[in-house]
């Protein structure tokens, strides 16, 4: 029981951030029909900004670590959102529903942004000071207290987004555009405005997940790449553009990583994920909860 509990706890804590990160990617695809390869760079920027700013803030204002983190988290999320707005109006708006154009654009942005991060922040790994000490036992599995809190925050954001998409006017408009753009426009929904909102929410989710992961890992300018490749697997399995699919896919991938990583090897877990993607693309390309393209 102890071992299974530990593996489940691992699944939960890894999955919570995977889900949040993937939700942003799938939302952007659903609304804009753009596969944003630069999504991981928003995630990375938030983590790097927090790691770079926190020590400065600590020295200047001698605030408690959690307050430093909160201030940096909010500032980093705002900075990333501002960058996302600039990139949307400067570039992405011209490539809405253009898969090839947006692919070239976002891959170019990925390379450019990673190069700039390397130049500005250097490649050496950075760490965020510990926010909470101690560890807790959940169902017999151990995890750090700060991981548990961060996992809870990530799940709360996921729940909040789900509620927004399911029940708010904006959420209904986002879903309508993702489902059938022409029909949505005929109902008076302004497609470009909704696309902008979708892109901003997606980018903010990337920034939030980057900010949440910052205290848990070593942060380098390439950290977003690992999450991006996992997110692609997650949204293909869950269904491109599907919010519940991203949630399901996120926890499924985390479970594969946790259980296959234990019983076989982490390398085999990675192979298993890619095999699963191949099977889905061949047998059920719309994913678990996605809609088949008509």
């Amino acid at each position: 029981m102890g071992l299974i509990a530990q593996l489940l706890v691992n699944t939960l804590q890894i999955g919570a951030v995977y889900v949040l990160f993937s939700l942003g990617l799938t939302l952007v695809f659903g609304v804009m029909k753009v596969i944003n390869f630069a999504h991981g760079q928003f995630f990375t920027l938030a983590a790097l900004l927090i790691a770079a700013a926190m020590p400065e803030l600590t020295v200047r204002f001698a605030l408690p670590a959690w307050l430093d983190y909160f201030v940096c988290f909010a500032a980093a999320s705002l900075a990333v959102s501002a960058l996302a707005a600039v990139l949307y109006f400067g570039a992405f708006e011209r490539y809405l529903r253009d898969l090839i154009g947006s692919f070239i654009l976002s891959v170019g942005l990925l390379l450019l942004m990673e190069g700039i991060y390397l130049w500005v922040f250097s490649g050496a790994p950075r760490v965020v000071p510990k926010l909470l000490t101690g560890q807790v036992s959940v169902l017999g599995g151990s995890l750090e207290t700060q991981r548990l809190v961060i996992c809870g925050i990530a799940l709360a954001f996921t729940f909040g987004l789900y509620q927004l998409v399911q029940h708010s006017k904006l959420g209904k408009a986002l879903r309508a555009v993702a489902e059938d753009r022409e029909a949505a426009m005929l109902q008076g929904i302004r497609y470009r405005r909704i696309s902008f909102y979708g892109f901003m929410i997606g980018s903010a989710l990337a920034a939030i997940s980057g900010g949440l992961i910052a205290p848990l890992v070593a942060i380098s300018p390439s950290i977003g790449n690992d999450y991006l490749s996992k997110a692609f697997i997650i949204i293909i399995i869950g269904g491109l553009g599907s919010i519940p699919g991203a949630i399901l896919g996120g926890f499924l991938i985390a479970a594969i990583e946790s259980f296959a990583g234990y019983f076989f090897d982490l390398s085999y877990a990675t192979i298993a994920m890619f095999l699963l993607v191949m099977v889905f693309l061949l047998v059920r390309p719309q994913g678990l909860l996605g809609h088949a393209q008509r």
């Binding site: 071992l3 530990q6 593996l7 691992n10 804590q13 890894i14 390397l118 250097s122 490649g123 050496a124 790994p125 760490v127 510990k130 560890q135 151990s142 995890l143 750090e144 992961i213 890992v217 070593a218 380098s220 300018p221 390439s222 950290i223 790449n225 690992d226 999450y227 990583e257 946790s258 259980f259 990583g261 234990y262 090897d265 982490l266 390398s267 877990a269 990675t270």
Partner: protein, 398 residues
């Protein structure tokens, strides 16, 4: 006549590229081929900085004299991404685009092998620190190693741990799943088994992994007495931290451990008492004056103390300088021929190349083997061993 002129021009251009020198100002360009991002970035960034210091030292002392000319040294760093794909691209840029013929640092077996496939063909001298055994030998006469590798380090490291913890019997290993990791794992397993240890598991992970809980669970469940990490400092720190959360308490070894700083920054208190196979205290009493000076400079410039891998860039630059002057030529093939017989001044003191018994040809730089441990977040040396082969070579010196 036109054809003759064209061929002559091409020959002059090729000769210029082949020498790696800019004829107009007598500058020899040394390449540094390293990762500058990701978990091993601190090694690369530090190596590039040490390379610059070595160039400054050489230039301040009159440059390199060969063939009746005096050359100044310029160091250019190339990001190899710590993988063969990026390494291949960086190697093309360094050797073919920029015409560099002396490489004084190469980190990572996979990218170094990508570089080597080109450097051996194009006749560039390559001094590197890749841990894989297969990078050197008679089949690669232009490749030398300028720092100790698992084949020199692991025996003394495990012996030191065995003396401190004779009760330990079982080991669990973690290595990156690439060319470096695979060659290192083979050697470390052999060394542990030769000393009577039981290997409970030998796990692998992909470089770039950020979530280490699954692998930590797997390792913790073995209840091994010793955990041996063949991973870079940041990754090892994360794994030790997760192992501590999951309640494992035992002997921690970071065989690829090059210094406390990055490991402690990531792993915190969980990495205390970790044994390291490739770390040294260059601020301590056993350090030489030049090592202390470089360490102070690194602390000021990089905010990190120097480690043995970064310092190898200095030793490689000095070996290259001594080789060029001994060969009286900037032809890398002629320099490679004289290196095995040379005794030169490294940052540790007099050093040479040896290791014929292990590698089939003397291409391994002989410098002290240092076993150290993390104590109160700092690197503390516990043993410093001068290789027997170096002692013999120095004894034969007039």
């Amino acid at each position: 006549m036109k054809h003759l002129m064209a061929w002559a021009a091409a020959a002059v251009l090729a000769a210029g590229i082949a020498s790696g020198a800019r004829a107009e100002d007598n500058i020899l360009r040394f390449g540094v081929f390293v990762p500058m991002s990701g978990a091993a970035a601190s090694w690369g960034i530090g190596s590039a900085w040490v390379g610059q210091q070595a160039a400054k030292e050489i230039n301040d002392h009159g440059g390199i004299k060969a063939g009746g000319k005096t050359y100044k040294v310029e160091v250019i760093a190339y990001e190899n991404g710590y993988n063969s794909a990026d390494g291949g691209k960086a190697a093309q840029a360094m050797l073919n685009r920029d015409g560099i013929r002396f490489v004084i640092q190469g980190i990572g077996t996979a990218p170094v092998k990508a570089l080597q496939s080109l450097s051996e063909r194009t006749g560039a001298l390559l001094l590197q620190i890749a841990w894989g055994k297969s990078v050197k030998g008679p089949q690669a006469p232009l490749t030398f190693t300028s720092s100790n590798t698992p084949f020199e380090l692991f025996g003394p490291l495990i012996d030191a741990v065995k003396r401190q913890h004779p009760e330990a019997k079982t080991v669990a290993l973690l290595n990156p799943n690439d060319a470096t990791g695979q060659e290192v794992e083979e050697e470390v397993v052999k060394q542990y088994k030769a000393r009577g240890y039981t290997i409970l598991t030998s796990a692998w992970y992909e470089r770039g992994t950020t979530e280490f809980q699954p692998i930590a669970t797997k390792l913790a469940q073995t209840h091994a007495d010793i955990m041996d990490m063949g991973a870079p400092p940041a990754d090892s720190g994360l794994v030790f931290k997760e192992l501590s959360v999951q309640g494992w308490k035992g002997i921690k070894i970071q065989s690829a451990g090059t210094g406390a700083d990055a490991t402690v920054k990531v792993g915190g208190a969980a990495v205390e008492d970790t044994y390291m196979g490739a770390a040294a205290d260059f601020a301590g009493p056993t350090a030489t004056p030049i090592q202390r000076k470089l360490n102070e400079g690194a602390l000021a410039a990089l905010h990190e103390p120097l480690n043995v891998l970064q310092l190898a860039t200095w030793d490689a630059a000095m070996a290259t300088k001594a080789g060029i002057e001994k060969a009286n030529s900037i032809d890398p093939r002629k320099v490679a021929k004289v290196l095995p017989d040379l005794i030169f001044e490294s940052s540790y003191g007099p050093a040479a190349f040896g290791g014929k018994e292990t590698y089939g040809s003397p291409q391994q730089m002989l410098v002290p083997i240092i076993v150290s441990q993390i104590k109160n977040g700092q690197t503390v040396e516990i043993e410093r061993i001068i290789p027997a082969e170096l002692k013999q070579r120095l004894a034969k010196q007039p």
